[in-house]
C-alpha cells in the first residue's frame, strides 16, 4: 500500500475511535492525529471540540500552557495522542532516551506532558508511522508513561490494543499479514480472535479529508494539507 494510502487508513482508524467524544487535543508535530481529530469533528457535525496545540485558529485555550493539563485533570479532555521513540508490549512509552536515563546513548526530545496526560486522559491513543522492531520493543529503556488496559496503538501497519497487560492485534491494515506484522514488531503478540482488516476510509471520510479537514490543516501542517487535497 502506498504511503498516502496507509496514512488515510490510520486517519480513519483513529477518527472512528473519537466518535462520540466531546473534546480531543492534539500535541505538536502530530499531523495524522490532527487530521483524524478534525475528521471526527467534521463527521460529528462539529460536536467534537478539537484543540490543536500550536494553532491560533484551532485551539480554545486561553489560560496559558497549564490549561491543557488542568483541563485533563478536570475530566474535560477525552482523548490525547502520544508517540513514543520506544513503545513496548505493555503499552508503555519512552520519550526520553536509550540506555541509562542519566546519560542516554541516544536522547530523544524529552518527556513533554506524557507522564501526566497518559494517566489522566481516559483515551490516550499511541501513534507511530514507522512500525518497526526498533520502535516497538518488548520493554522500553525508560518508562515516560506506563501502559494501561484498553490503550490503542495505531501504526502504519495495524492497530494494537492492550488487553490483560499486553498488546493484542485488533486489526491489520490492508496488505499486512500476521507474519508481516510479526516480522516488523519487536515484541511477541497474540491476535484477538476477531482480528480483521482495518476498515479503509469511506467516501464521506475521503471527501471531508480533501475538503474541510485539509483546509483546517493548512495553518499548522501546510505540506500535509496539500497532500490531503491531492487525495
Amino acid at each position: 500500500m502506498a504511503e498516502q494510502g496507509r496514512r488515510l487508513v490510520m486517519i480513519a482508524a483513529i477518527a472512528r475511535r473519537l466518535a462520540g467524544l466531546r473534546h480531543v487535543a492534539v500535541g505538536a508535530a502530530s499531523p495524522i492525529p490532527a487530521a483524524a481529530s478534525l475528521l471526527a469533528r467534521a463527521l460529528s457535525d462539529d460536536s467534537v471540540t478539537v484543540s490543536i496545540l500550536g494553532s491560533a485558529h484551532h485551539s480554545s485555550f486561553t489560560d496559558g500552557g497549564r490549561e491543557l493539563f488542568d483541563c485533563a485533570a478536570q475530566g474535560r479532555l477525552d482523548a490525547f495522542f502520544l508517540s513514543g521513540a520506544q513503545i513496548d508490549a505493555t503499552g508503555a512509552v519512552n520519550l526520553l532516551g536509550l540506555g541509562d536515563p542519566m546519560a542516554p546513548t541516544r536522547r530523544f526530545l524529552g518527556n513533554f506532558g506524557a507522564p501526566y496526560l497518559a494517566s489522566l486522559v481516559p483515551n490516550v491513543i499511541l501513534c507511530r508511522t514507522d512500525h518497526g522492531p526498533e520502535t516497538l520493543v518488548e520493554k522500553v529503556d525508560f518508562v515516560t508513561a506506563p501502559g494501561r488496559e484498553g490503550r490503542r496503538l495505531v501504526t502504519d501497519r495495524c492497530v494494537f490494543v492492550v488487553e490483560e497487560g499486553r498488546f493484542r492485534l485488533e486489526t491489520r491494515h490492508p496488505g499486512e499479514t500476521l507474519e508481516s506484522l510479526r516480522a516488523a514488531t519487536g515484541f511477541n503478540f497474540e491476535a484477538k480472535p476477531d482480528a480483521g482488516i482495518t476498515e479503509a476510509p469511506d467516501n464521506t471520510m475521503l471527501s471531508l479529508l480533501r475538503g474541510p479537514v485539509a483546509q483546517a490543516m493548512h495553518e499548522v501542517y501546510p505540506a500535509f494539507a496539500a497532500e490531503l487535497e491531492r487525495g
Partner: protein, 278 residues
C-alpha cells in the same frame, strides 16, 4: 474501560433564557456566585426565586452580596461558604442576618485566599492546596475540614485546604459569541470558578457575531465554550448591581433594599415588587 466512554461534560443547554438557566440549577446544588462587583446574574437569581429553589449551597467568589441576600431571604439557601457577606457600602446583608439569627442558614466561614485555593485545587484535579498564612487565626478552629501539616520542604507548618468543586457557576458578563465563548475581561475569578465548577451558566449583555477566540485581544479575556454550558442574552441582567465597564450599580435601589429588608415584611414587599418587574 468501554470505548468510547460516556462524555464527562454535561449537555449544553439549547436556546437558554434566564428561566431555563434557573431550571438547570437543581435544588440542593452547590452554586458559586460572584460578589456584587464581579458579574452577578440577578436576572437568573430572580427566576430561581420564582421557581422556589430550595437547599442551595452558596459559595462566594470569595464574598457574597445581594444575590445571596435575596436567595436567603426567599428561603432558597441551606448553607453559605464565604469570606464575607455584605451589600458593599449599604452594609450588613439584612436577610442573611435575620436567617442567621433564626438558625435558618448554616455558615461555613472562610477567607478569600482559602476559597481561591480550594477552587485552584479543583481546577488542577488535586485534593487540596497548601496555603500560606492563615495559621494563627481562630478561623482555623472553625474549619475541621482544613488540616495543618508540617511543610515537607521547609521548616514550619502549612494549612491544607480541600478542593472546592461547585456544581454550578452562575455569572453575568458583558459578551458572549454564538459558539458559547464568554468574555469576562479581567474578572478572572470567574474563569477560575468555571474551571473548578462542573457546569457554568451565564447571562450576558449581548451575544456578538464575531468569534471571540479569533483575535487574541478578545481571547485573552474569554472563557472558552468548552467550560460553558448555557448562555442567555439578558441586557441589564446584573441590575440593580453594576457591571464593570457597562453600567454602575443602582445605589439608590441598593440602599432602599438595605433599608426595606431590615424586616421580613419589608423584604417581602421589595421582593414582590422585584418579582413583578420583569
Amino acid at each position: 474501560m468501554s470505548w468510547p466512554p460516556s462524555s464527562p461534560c454535561p449537555e449544553v443547554l439549547s436556546a437558554p433564557t434566564p428561566i431555563t438557566l434557573a431550571a438547570a440549577i437543581p435544588d440542593g446544588a452547590s452554586l458559586a456566585l460572584a460578589p456584587d462587583y464581579s458579574g452577578c446574574s440577578l436576572v437568573t437569581i430572580r427566576e430561581l426565586i420564582r421557581r422556589r429553589a430550595r437547599g442551595l449551597r452558596l459559595i462566594g467568589l470569595p464574598q457574597l452580596g445581594l444575590q445571596a441576600d435575596l436567595l436567603i431571604g426567599a428561603g432558597c439557601v441551606a448553607t453559605i461558604e464565604t469570606a464575607a457577606i455584605c451589600l458593599g457600602e449599604a452594609g450588613i446583608a439584612p436577610a442573611f442576618e435575620r436567617a442567621r439569627r433564626a438558625g435558618e442558614v448554616q455558615i461555613i466561614e472562610s477567607t478569600c485566599p482559602a476559597i481561591h485555593a480550594g477552587l485552584t485545587a479543583a481546577e488542577k484535579g488535586i485534593s487540596h492546596l497548601p496555603l500560606a498564612g492563615v495559621i494563627g487565626s481562630d478561623l482555623v478552629d472553625l474549619r475541621p475540614d482544613w488540616r495543618i501539616a508540617d511543610d515537607p520542604f521547609a521548616t514550619g507548618q502549612l494549612l491544607l485546604v480541600p478542593a472546592i468543586r461547585p456544581d454550578i457557576l452562575l455569572c453575568h458578563a458583558a459578551l458572549a459569541d454564538n459558539a458559547g465563548n464568554l468574555w469576562i475581561g479581567v474578572r478572572r475569578e470567574l474563569m477560575l470558578a468555571a474551571h473548578a465548577s462542573r457546569r457554568t451558566l451565564a447571562t450576558v449583555e449581548e451575544v456578538v457575531d464575531h468569534d471571540l477566540l479569533a483575535d487574541d485581544v478578545w481571547a485573552a479575556g474569554t472563557i472558552p465554550a468548552l467550560y460553558v454550558d448555557g448562555i442567555a442574552e439578558a441586557p441589564n441582567g446584573a441590575a440593580p448591581v453594576g457591571l464593570r465597564g457597562r453600567y454602575p450599580s443602582d445605589r439608590a435601589r441598593l440602599h432602599a433594599y438595605a433599608e426595606a429588608a431590615r424586616t421580613a415584611e419589608g423584604f417581602n414587599r421589595f421582593l414582590n415588587a422585584w418579582l413583578g418587574d420583569g
